[in-house]
């Protein structure tokens, strides 16, 4: 479980990682280059404006020894306007490009990652909680794209700004410039240090904040239990610890930020003061004009800004690195279940199937000496053998964790055996494509999952080109039509997110109709334990028997009626077949199945009576 502890950051800056990021966002390289150019122009304009002011002071305004003149003023206005227009255009462009890159990179990475997720095997999904995958696909990707879009921009601006400012000053007075530039190294060091600290501080704030959100969540969801346990005060105590922690870390982060700016501004003002002092002396001896003097003072005042930006970029890069690493790991994960190149050549891949080459599937299934383990050293199945004839119904019973789901997962090739092989129609299924098997597979889960959309959409999910008649026929077959027609819009009723607007029983019926429409050769049913009312129960029973006719089926069974009608019942315990046979045969043995059956029977009958009494 340790592996998905969210890591906040990695310490070392990794160039290879960022190269990989760039490789994954190739289509935006051109925009990136334009962005850097435009940003350079913006920075250059920022340097030119004070220069224009200084020119105005020196050329138009009367001084001690020369009267003012308006000669050249129209040209000056022209130049000023030109720079202004360029600047505004550049500002618009860099915002446009930055946005384009951010939004686009986000989109591209998400697209690739989503595709990858469609190919990764279930073992991956077993390791990774959905919430974790969600955050990789949303916030982490967002963070990464923001970094690509905007940090280069800040970096380009900062660097051009420093170079252009220094060069301009150098041009006018190199000795003074050299001395003034001395302030840059300490500024850089202090900025770097502070940005790191500030980043860490805010990271702490975010962490505490998510703990608080979690606490609220738990406080609200667990409120009923809290009341029965009289735990209000203890909960409040724990919560108070969090809120105070939050206050402490927030104030600390805000204080660091509030401290940083005055320090660099004050440090920068030392350069300004020096320029004022020495520049003023030069002005007195005529070595510097008033305009240039003013220019030096202005430039030195702005010095800290590009440095702050650059320091900030590096700090951001460092923190975005963790997000980048997580996203890149997902993109670079190799699926554990893959079709061999030969198979792919012949039958096509998951997105481009070559259906014309697919052989028809009869439905004979054979487990030959199958071993299986989810985790190294924890064998779930050992030397498991089973032969199922096409059209047979196999009921799997046994305690939780015994390996029932494993058998089913292996049949579906959601996992592959770690030893031995599984044959379908006499051929090792690895010699066929995954999509071939899965397209011939009907699968109804314990907790039926629907997608948002209408009832019709959900049934049609099994076969996208099915006509309305086909959809309705499938619904009729499982007797789902009566309840569907009772809904406000019949087949076109919206089921809500994940089918939330339907009851469990209704969702089950729709998932049966969906499975029927797919007309699969192999049918897998993980029967629900959740109780539905007696009438629905009967409809579902009939639906199940309709679905099972003529197909090879595996049922993880909980309902007696299903178990009783199976051709064979497998009692599985501890990864082995403990008992196998037909219902009566096993009953007469008075073994594990007998015990299971009697208990279950009583319970079911009791529930039925209590349900009816309602």
């Amino acid at each position: 479980m340790q592996q998905f502890e969210e890591q906040d950051y990695t310490k070392k800056f990794s160039l290879a990682l960022w190269k990989n990021v760039l490789r994954h966002t190739k289509e935006y390289h051109k925009d990136l280059i334009w962005l850097i150019i435009v940003m350079g122009i913006t920075a250059a304009c920022d340097v030119v404006f004070p220069l224009l002011t200084s020119y105005a002071i020196d050329h138009f305004i009367p001084r001690l020894n020369s009267p003012g003149t308006s000669e050249g003023l129209p040209a000056f206005v022209g130049v000023y306007l030109l720079v202004l227009v360029i600047q505004v255009a550049a500002i618009f462009l860099f915002l446009f490009l930055g946005g384009k890159i951010e939004v686009g990179a986000c989109y591209t990475i998400r697209k690739k990652a989503f595709r990858k997720l469609q190919e990764l095997p279930f073992s991956y999904y077993d390791r990774m909680p959905v919430g974790y995958l969600m955050s990789r696909m949303t916030s982490d990707t967002q963070r990464l794209a923001e970094t690509i879009g905007w940090s280069l921009l800040d970096l380009a601006w900062g660097i051009v700004m420093i170079i252009a400012t220094s060069a301009t000053m150098f041009f006018y007075n190199w000795r003074l410039t050299l001395l003034v530039l001395l302030v840059i190294p300490p500024l850089a060091v202090i900025s770097w240090w502070f940005q790191q600290k500030i980043l860490h501080a805010y990271r702490k704030v975010r962490k505490t904040n998510s703990q608080i959100t979690g606490a609220f969540n738990e406080g609200i969801m667990g409120a009923k239990t809290t009341k029965t346990l009289v735990r209000e005060d203890m909960n409040m105590e724990e919560f108070t610890v969090l809120t105070h922690e939050m206050k402490k870390s927030s104030v600390r982060a805000a204080s660091l930020s509030a401290l940083y700016l005055p320090i660099v501004v004050s440090l920068g003002s030392v350069a300004t003061a020096y320029a004022l002092w020495k520049g003023g002396q030069e002005v007195l001896i005529g070595g510097m004009t008033l305009g240039v003097f003013q220019l030096f003072v202005n430039y030195t005042v702005q010095f800290f800004e590009p440095i702050r930006n650059i320091a900030n970029v590096f700090a951001e890069l460092q923190s975005a690195q963790a997000a980048a690493e997580r996203v890149m790991t997902l993109l670079d994960t190799e699926p554990e279940i893959v079709d061999t190149p030969e198979v792919e050549e012949k039958f096509g891949d998951n997105f481009h199937p070559k259906k014309e080459n697919w052989p028809a599937l009869r439905g004979d299934i054979e487990f030959c000496h199958v071993d299986f383990q989810y985790k190294e050293g924890e064998k779930v199945l050992t030397d498991f053998n089973l032969k199922v004839k096409a059209g047979e119904t196999i009921a799997l019973v046994g305690p939780t964790g015994a390996g029932k789901s494993t058998v089913v997962n292996l049949v579906c090739r959601f996992y592959e055996p770690t030893g031995g092989e599984i044959k379908i129609d006499g051929v090792n299924y690895k010699e066929r494509s995954q999509l071939w098997l899965q397209s011939n597979l009907g699968y109804v889960l314990q907790e039926p999952r629907l997608f948002s959309g209408t009832i019709r959409d959900n049934i049609r999910y099994a076969k996208l080109n099915a006509t309305d008649e086909e959809v309705e026929r499938a619904a009729k077959l499982v007797n789902a039509e009566p309840f569907i027609l009772k809904m406000e819009k019949g087949y076109d009723t919206d089921v809500g997110e994940g089918g939330s607007r339907l009851s469990t029983g209704e969702k089950q019926l729709i998932s049966f109709a969906r499975a029927i429409l797919a007309n699969p050769r192999i049918f897998v049913l993980d029967e629900a334990t959740s109780s539905v009312d007696t009438q629905t129960e009967q409809i579902i029973q009939r639906a199940i028997s309709t679905v099972l006719t003529g197909r090879t089926s595996f049922i993880i069974a909980h309902r007696l009626s299903t178990i009783r009608t199976a051709n064979r019942i497998l009692v599985i315990d501890d990864g082995k077949i403990k008992e196998m046979g037909a219902h009566q045969e096993l009953l007469r043995k008075k073994g594990a199945y007998y015990n299971l059956y009697t208990n279950q029977f009583q319970e079911e009958q009791a529930m039925e009576i209590l349900g009816k009494a309602e």
Binding site: E5, P62, L64, S70, Y80, L84, I91, F92, G99, E102, V103, Y107, Q118, F122, V130, M134, T213, F216, N217, G219, I220, A223, K224, T225, T228, V230, E232, M236, T243, M246, K247, V251, A258, L259, P262, A273, L276, G280, V283, L284, L290, V297, F351, T400, C412, L435, Q438, Y443, Y461, L464, G498, R588, F601, Q602, E603, Q605, A606, I609, L610, A613
Partner: protein, 607 residues
């Protein structure tokens, strides 16, 4: 409503008035110093270097005259530099003070709101929580609180700051030169209106982008949770297309928003820069005519930005101000709900007596009585089982004993005392209740067992989990007792949750213990084991067990059969099996099973 919101806001500010005041004072000083710095430069250029009229107050110039006048200053410009550094340091101190005070004030506000909300929600009655919508509540407690904090700690101060900046700038500019000051104001109304109206208008696009993102997340979430269905029907290709559609819609809407913002910044920059140019040109024009000095030009060109920035900011903040009022309203809606009332006169008697329901009538919703004039007695120290259909009211009985709800009519007495007179927290701490779907906290398995008994010893914990038949699965978990429960740790099955919940009840020696169908998800053998352990440990605890298992029911001292809110039958097992009724019907399943075996075997024989 408006009144309550204003009062709440007023209270939050009052509680932190020291910090708000400190932030205000610091803001005033930073603004003043910010306006002094350009004057220093202007003074140097005009007075010290060129001998033009001074801007400094008389006492400063008197002091400078005593040193040797402007010529001395021109030779010793380091003094100006020193003053500059000094002023910056001073401003830094105020700026830090402002930042800190603001942050402390803001954090105090959110701390107060968070704690109040949390405590209040905990104290809301059980009936509220039965219907509560977690997502909405959490959002109010987190992002709405954050919106209020941001408003009070940042935006409020920004508005103060902006208004002060504008006032100071205009004051200085008009004092410096009235004509140029007027020219410097040409674009201001336009700029303010543009910022204000633009953000009012663009708000819709923020919402559109958020909604598109929501849709994308929903598709993603459905795909990830429904991955088995996707694979089972081989619909990977279709899923990719579906995601592509919502993802590119999100891209389109966000990109549009980005472009709108690009238009905003570029336009407002254009307006600002044009204003700045107009000011510069006006200065140049008047300077050529000899009406102003270089110093004035310096002051105008640097002050103009101190005017433009706040105007722009003000427009944006004001267009946003409605949000915090909405957020405050949503928070207040929660705080307005009545808590479980305080009971100053409540008593804490011994609860070892009989439990008596005396003509109790109870309804969750008006007009739909769940318990109808119900009367029965549960003798102290005995084990009583309750059988009833879903919706018959059996859970309400145990809920009422814990005072999670109050009956509309009748009286419930324990040891002769009406429980309405008993302190409800005391009552709940002496009456244990295990819910059918218990909630486990996202702590370790050990902490969850000891959740209601902080000082439980290892021995007690061990005994509790053994008796609740939970030890095996706990030790089988990754880190045993230290395994975390929830997303970050193990996901427990229904039966495991129930056993863990039973363990945390067993750790306390309750006077009364109720199990609300809380063994439904464990198998019959484990059920029997737990009950045997229970019997051994609780000699004088009154135990109430709700179940549908005949074995469980049959071993109780007394059985109540509840139908439609009334006690339909009561008695011992032996009595009830001979009465016609629900109990006998369920008991008879046993014999029906025997019947079936005979049938099946006969059938088998004939095949």
């Amino acid at each position: 409503m408006q009144d309550r919101k204003t009062r709440l806001m007023g209270r939050l500010i009052r509680e932190n008035k020291g910090h708000f005041l400190a932030a205000l004072v610091c803001t005033v000083f930073t603004v003043i110093i910010e306006f002094i710095t350009p004057i220093l430069l202007a003074e140097t250029l005009d007075y010290y270097l060129q001998g033009k009229p001074s801007r400094m107050p008389g006492f400063v110039n008197a002091w400078i005259d005593s040193l040797g006048g402007p010529a001395f200053m021109a030779r010793n410009l380091w003094m100006v530099g020193l003053a500059l550094v000094g002023l910056n340091l001073l401003s830094g101190v105020f700026s830090f003070g402002k930042g800190r005070a603001q942050s402390v004030a803001g954090e105090n506000v959110s701390l107060t709101l968070r704690e109040q909300l949390y405590s209040h929600i905990q104290k809301l009655p059980f009936s509220y929580h039965v219907k509560a919508e977690t997502g909405d509540l959490v959002q109010r407690c987190t992002s709405d609180v954050e919106t209020v904090r941001r408003f009070l700690s940042m935006q409020l101060m920004q508005v103060v700051n902006a208004v002060m900046m504008i006032a100071f700038a205009l004051f200085y500019l008009f004092r410096e030169n009235v004509k140029i000051a007027w020219i410097s104001m040409v674009m201001l109304p336009g700029l303010f209106l543009f910022a204000f109206l633009f953000f009012k208008w663009v708000v819709k696009n923020f919402r559109l982008s958020d909604e598109a993102e929501g849709k994308m997340s929903a598709v993603l979430q459905e795909n990830l949770t429904g991955v088995r269905v996707v694979r089972a029907f081989g619909q990977q290709e279709y899923e990719v297309e579906k995601f592509e559609k919502v993802s590119s819609d999100f891209r389109k809407k966000t990109f549009k928003l980005c472009n709108l913002l690009a238009v905003y910044w570029a336009t407002s920059d254009l307006l600002s820069m044009v204003q700045s140019m107009l000011t510069l040109l006006a200065c140049v024009y008047f300077a050529i005519r000899g009406e102003i000095t270089v110093g004035t030009l310096i002051i105008f060109t640097s002050y103009i930005w101190k005017l433009l920035f706040p105007i722009r900011q003000l427009g944006r903040i004001l267009s946003d101000a409605g949000k915090s009022s909405v957020a405050l309203g949503r928070i207040d809606e929660i705080l307005r709900l009545p808590e479980e009332p305080a009971e100053p006169d409540a008593i804490k008697p011994s609860l070892k007596g009989d439990i008596v329901f005396d003509h109790v009538t109870f309804a969750y919703d008006e007009g739909r009585d769940v318990l109808k004039d119900m009367s029965f007695t549960i003798p102290a120290g005995k084990t009583v089982a309750i059988l009833g259909a879903t919706g018959s009211g059996k859970s309400s009985v145990v809920h009422l004993i814990q005072r999670l709800f109050e009956p509309q009519k009748g009286e419930i007495r324990i040891g002769g005392t009406d429980i309405q007179k008993i302190d409800r927290y005391y009552l709940r701490s002496r009456v244990g209740l295990v819910l059918q779907e218990p909630f486990l906290y996202s702590k370790t398995l050990r902490e969850n067992v000891a959740i209601a008994a902080k000082n439980a010893t290892g021995e007690q914990i061990d005994r509790a989990v053994t008796d609740a038949a939970a030890k095996e699965f706990i030790l089988g978990s990754d880190k045993g007792f230290d395994t975390l429960v929830g997303e970050r740790g193990v996901t427990l099955s229904g039966g495991q949750k129930q056993r863990e919940a039973i363990a945390r009840t067993l750790i306390k020696d309750y006077d009364i213990q109720s199990f609300d169908d809380s063994l439904s998800a464990v198998d019959t053998e484990t059920d029997a084991m737990i009950r045997a352990a229970l019997k051994k440990r609780s000699r004088d605890t009154t135990t109430i067990i709700i179940s549908h298992r005949i074995v469980t029911l049959s071993q109780a001292d007394w059985i109540l059969v509840i139908e439609d809110g009334r006690v339909a039958q009561q008695g011992t097992h032996d009595e009830l099996i001979h009465q016609d009724g629900l109990y006998a019907r369920i008991f008879n399943i046993q014999s029906a099973l025997e019947e079936e075996f005979k049938e099946e075997n006969k059938g088998y024989a004939t095949v």
